[in-house]
């Protein structure tokens, strides 16, 4: 099949390009997910008490809070602890000169079960905490949390639409390309049928070819993404992102790599199959 090397290159090239887009996209989304997942671990509720409590009472409250469904850990912050924390946070300790621990409120730091570490989770939990501490002032970094969350959500929503369209477009482009390559060989397909080949006999080699091209395209796209990852994401971004807290950008996990390869094979196979149906007609 000498003359068809161009056709073969065209199919593999298109498969590679489209799968690379998908894979790059997945790479970005997976890392965003991991990063935001990590950050959301910081989400916690701080409950400022109306008035100071004794240690025994605090312990009792702590236990009750701890037994709430969705609460992970509870820490009691006494006045002394609050003072020393503030001291730690303020660079210039002189500021605290006029301040004695007595003026600071006591509080509970309530960390959440992982599935509740989001704005919604917090809102779900608040009434339960309120039930235990009816007069406490509950704070959870509203503004930033809300913004951050809506930001993440906007990105996910965009990613869903974009990703969905990307998958659809990939499917379309690849099957289109394969159809074009078969169109260029349609005389040959017709001749095969005319000299007595069954549809299966005609299609089998093209299907095999399609699957092989798909696998090749998938492999090449993984290679391309890996190179881009090495060149741009890992090093370049690592130095750009000053405070992602030791987060290292990952490459696609093995399961996703397999999925890309599998997608390549399926695209090649079904792209060929659907087009062959159009061009292989007997009698």
């Amino acid at each position: 099949m000498r003359q068809s090397s161009f056709l073969c290159i065209a199919t593999v090239g298109t498969l590679t390009a489209t799968l690379t887009i998908i894979a790059l996209f997945a790479l970005v989304i997976i890392n965003l997910q991991a990063l935001t997942g990590r950050w959301s671990e910081d989400v916690q509720v701080r409950a400022y008490l109306e008035k100071p409590v004794r240690n025994a009472q605090a312990d009792q409250l702590r236990k009750r809070l701890g037994s709430i469904d969705g609460v992970d850990e509870v820490e009691f912050v006494s006045r002394e602890k609050a003072y020393s924390r503030m001291r730690q946070r303020l660079e210039n300790a002189d500021l605290l000169d006029g301040l004695s621990p007595e003026v600071l409120p006591v509080s509970f730091d309530i960390s959440l079960a992982s599935e509740l570490r989001s704005r919604e989770g917090v809102l779900e939990l608040l009434p339960r905490i309120k039930a235990v501490l009816p007069n406490a002032d509950l704070r959870y970094g509203q503004q930033w949390l809300e913004r951050f969350e809506s930001f993440v959500q906007m990105i996910y929503a965009a990613a869903t639409v974009l990703g969905g369209f990307l998958l659809f477009a990939t499917l379309f482009i690849v099957s289109n390309t394969i159809r074009l390559t078969l169109y260029a060989r349609k005389d040959e397909l017709e001749i095969m049928a005319l000299v007595g080949a069954t549809p299966f006999f005609i299609k089998a080699p093209f299907l095999l070819e399609g699957a092989a091209q798909g696998a090749l395209g998938g492999g090449l796209s993984l290679g391309t993404v890996y190179l881009l990852y090495q060149a741009f994401f890992r090093e370049g971004l690592g130095s750009l992102l000053f405070s992602i807290g030791g987060y290292e950008i990952h490459f696609l996990p093995a399961s996703h790599q397999l999925a890309i390869l599998g997608a390549g094979v399926l695209l090649g196979l079904f792209g060929s199959l659907s087009s062959l149906r159009k061009f292989v007609k007997i009698g």
């Binding site: 099949m1 000498r2 003359q3 068809s4 060989r185 005389d187 040959e188 017709e190 001749i191 095969m192 049928a193 005319l194 000299v195 007595g196 080949a197 069954t198 549809p199 006999f201 007609k281 007997i282 009698g283």
Partner: protein, 226 residues
Amino acid sequence: MNTEAMIRLYDISKHYRSDSAALANIDLRIDKGEFVYLTGASGAGKSTLLKLLFCAERPDKGQILIKGRNITRLKSREVPYLRRTIGVVFQDYKLMNSRTIFENVAFPLEVQGKRRIEVGKKVYQALKEVGLEERMSRYPLELSGGEQQRIAIARALVVGPDILLADEPTGNLDINVTLEIMELFKKANARGTTVVLATHSQEMIQRFPRRVLTLEGGALVRDESC
């Protein structure tokens, strides 16, 4: 009429367009082992008639029996098996340009699942008979017009078909090669293959007189046995 009928047409008509008939009300019987010329002016319907016989076109009206089997409403998955018993030399050759000469001639054998060694031997033999065994590894577009035509003939004969349909098989061949090709057809005919040969060449018909069917504007106007 003691012999067996190989091809039987009952009142066959074919219209490509509604305004003109390519074939009109053809009744015809060709026996097993016959050698028949199909002649007529350009556009008379010769190729169309041949196309009906291997289901490349379907008739609008009438019935066609091949070896007693009605092929008019053959299911499309049965068509390939009919075609394997028929060798066709197409007027425009229909070679696969991306395959070598060897692969082209081998294709009908591979379709039938023949073993590799057998395929190789038969292909070589067929190419030798048309004098082109040396061109085996070339591609069709690297051959002259007449050479391509002979490859098409080799491909039709390589399977040892029950029926050979040859559409203007020597239109691009000089007289010497034509004579050799006619010898091949006669040999195949002698082995039992029913031959239907569409041609405009009166010279050929005179040199090898056989039964002649003449079409005119889609109608069968003459049927002369010699």
